[in-house]
Symmetry: C2
Subunit: 160 residues, 2 copies
Amino acid sequence: MNQPHWLSAKERDTWIRFAAVAELLPAALNLQLVNDEGLTHFDYYALAMLSEAPGRVLRTSALAARTNATLPRLSRVLSRLEDAGWVHRAECEQDRRATNVSLTQSGWEKVVAAAPNHVATVRRLVIDALTDEQVEQLGAISRAMLSRLDPECRMLASER
Amino acid sequence: MNQPHWLSAKERDTWIRFAAVAELLPAALNLQLVNDEGLTHFDYYALAMLSEAPGRVLRTSALAARTNATLPRLSRVLSRLEDAGWVHRAECEQDRRATNVSLTQSGWEKVVAAAPNHVATVRRLVIDALTDEQVEQLGAISRAMLSRLDPECRMLASER
DNA sequence: CTAGATTAGTTGCACCAACAACCAATGACC
DNA sequence: GGTCATTGGTTGTTGGTGCAACTAATCTAG
């Protein structure tokens, strides 16, 4: 890297603001969920991914891919969610190494209860701050960045 | 919240992708710095803020504001950076409660050495994935979101 | 001048997450 | 069919981070 390609003034301005957003937004989303629901954002996201899966069941490693979590992290989170009664772990019949994680009725109700405030927060901090045109632009921009950050689309597996 | 205002299909599409970016980008930036320089992204950012300050000196609480860190967090990070010889803490003459944190020559050299690869990573993952027009759009979008996330512009203090 | 309130920073404690080591089950190959 | 590599998941250990409690210095009011 003998001749670093520095950012132009315009690029630098965009980057500084966008980096600040990337720093502040996750903390803000987490704070709302912890305060209102006693869930971390990761907890909520994991429950939400389960709620959208067919039969509300996923194998542990499939859930880990959708949530961008390591298996050790997810293992401990699932223990906590299971203790709270929101998920249930059962041996997989086809592959007895694997575990099927299912959303319980209580877990479903938790997601349903938490969703409105969470969506309202997403609206307040992101969507409603933008024009319709900007929402469209942000979608295209995010798609472009994701092609670099996640070429295999692991995080969007549930969308395909 | 009796009538939650759900996201439209287009808004939801944008949000899912953007949330994935917000999840993956910080980890990617951190990984590059840890691998290449043995610095966390927070370490690097703190050193960078010091390097841009007049005289390369800031009070602990001013640095905390610029880096969006709590005082306890920054206190421990500074202990680590001081042990590494990159910063120096000295009592403030005017207010003996306060601490002036200064970047050492070694710390300056560390930032200068780390910057090119870091900037190259920002280019690779963000800037170069976008058209010039999209860079402009992302600047405006980030500005709009920041007005919700950080109305007092604490994180942009060094820019004003 | 002195008592109480506020501010700057550090430290005790508890929790969370990463890495590595580990166990169990499966698949691959001869 | 038996050995070896691979995969799915859990647990030990370590390091980071937030909150609350604490110390010390400064400011404010009477």
